[in-house]
């Protein structure tokens, strides 16, 4: 730090200072509502998930299959060309085992494995692959391995709503 500066400003507080109302505060519960357009690509992706299928877009120039699908190939910078169904199997590209819930403080009762699933799709550019983030199931956390073959476990058709959670999780095969 600059040797010339002797004091740095700031008044640190403890959680109790705020909870115990030692300092004045104002509160605002924000509840912002949105209804996001899924658009052409993700809209179709969700529809197909409801049908129990995974669909991607093909860029004929670089030969990639883009999943999650998008209407443009960011690499060639052109529109993608056609739709293609892919199998719901893949390998674990990387995984982690979470002990935390979404809010960042609540601890889960059971640690849950999550993974980036590399779908079984021919990869034309080595750095890129098709796939997405999802839960792993029917496997003990300590048994999860890199490169493990996995397959999607779908919710029963009547429970599917057209969401990424229509896949319950991926399980090892």
């Amino acid at each position: 730090m600059s040797v010339k500066i002797s004091k740095y400003p700031g008044v640190g507080l403890k959680e109790e200072d705020i909870k115990g109302k030692k300092v004045l505060t104002t509160v605002w519960p924000c509840n912002l509502k949105y209804s996001w357009s899924a658009g052409v690509a993700v809209g179709r992706f969700l529809t197909e998930l409801k049908n129990g299928k995974i669909i991607g877009r093909v860029c004929k120039k670089c030969g990639r299959i883009l999943i999650p699908p998008r209407m443009y190939c960011e690499w060639c910078w052109k529109s993608t060309d056609e739709w293609v169904y892919v199998k719901d199997t893949g390998t674990i590209n990387t995984y982690a085992i979470t002990h935390l819930a979404t809010d960042g403080v609540t601890r889960l009762k059971e640690p849950m494995p999550i993974a980036v699933i590399q779908l079984d799709v021919p990869a034309k550019l080595p750095r890129f692959f098709a796939g997405f983030l999802h839960y792993l199931g029917e496997v003990k956390p300590e048994d999860v391995k890199f490169g493990m073959k996995v397959k999607a476990v779908w919710k029963p058709p009547e429970e599917r709503i057209g969401s990424i959670t229509d896949i319950k999780y991926f399980k090892p095969v």
């Binding site: 605002w28 924000c30 912002l32 949105y34 998008r70 209407m71 443009y72 960011e74 060639c76 910078w77």
Partner: protein, 400 residues
Amino acid sequence: MEGKIGLERKIAVVGVGWSGFKPFTTEEYRELIFEAAVKAYEDAGGINPRKDVDGFIGVAEDLWEGISIADEYYPDQVGAVFKPENSVSADGIVGFISACMMIQSGVWDTAVVEAHSKISEVLSVNDLLLFALDPVFNRPLWNVDPKTKKPVGGHPYMFAGLEMNRYLAETGTTVEQCAKVVVKNYRNALKNPFAAYGSNLTVEDVICSKVVSHPLKELDASKFADGCVVVVLAGEEVAKKYTDTPIWVKGYGFCSETSWLECHDWGDSVYTRISGEMAYKMAGIKNPRKEINFAEVDDTFSYKELQNLEALKIFGRGEAGKFVEENLTAIDGDFPVNPSGGSLGQGNLFCANGLQKILGVVLQLRNEAGKFQVSKAEVGLAQAWRGIPTTSGAVTILGR
């Protein structure tokens, strides 16, 4: 390659593209951006962003998208992957100026600026406007119902009401004159094929519309629209490679007034005045009324157009209303203002308002504006404001 650096380096708009400009669009916003980018790159002589563009500037404000760090979702659809890219949370014109500064500092030759609005996705726009207030001194005036979590206590347009009240009182402008702005811009929009809200209103229609926050009426406020604008900029030496009709950036300025609404000058648009002065100085303009032919200024609320025109010194203080009444600012008038229909006629695009203004000016300068083409278009001015409850604005002057 050797060239001028700094403000002497001339910059041209070589391509513009747009998409949407509708109250509701079915595409995802990134698909809208892609569409606008395709048009802009084609307009710039068919450039390939992966090869020909040195840098990109994105303009986005998190909560208008419902995404934290909106910049994350920016690179793919404009072709910016692995390219220098920067984002500003400001008005579109500030993004445009950021790109100009990068070109003038010598690191980039060609730059792309993108701004968009997907406001139809935001179901709680007014809650969000309150969320922009100072949480200690201003926001507690509203209560949040603990059950519904909905804030109550008066429409946030009351900030526009306060400004309008003070502006009318200080200048003697009348509500009829403000209504005339609405009538003019909605009529202009009828001539503009991509304006969403063109209609044939009368001054009475405006004055008799529902009062939101006296003196502000429902029709004084612009309605919202989705849309995206992409602009391609290039330094002098490369601009000619891309287009035969470069539109030169003659000057720019941006300014923020204060972060304390209590200190805001409610009757005047101080930020516009200062950013205007900055732009005039850069462009060497002494008499804006004479040296500029037309303007696209912020009109998210009707009185704003008058207030901004006065702040820009195009009209004297308190005179803008009179000139609007005399049809001086009509498309065929002496000094056309918002010939495209402005935000009132085309819809309020929030962060993208500034680029929409630039788009309007560029089309005029290229004589490509069709039915809303003004007769004399040598130099045009674009100005934008960030909307309530902010005090930030920007100006740019473009010329043939």
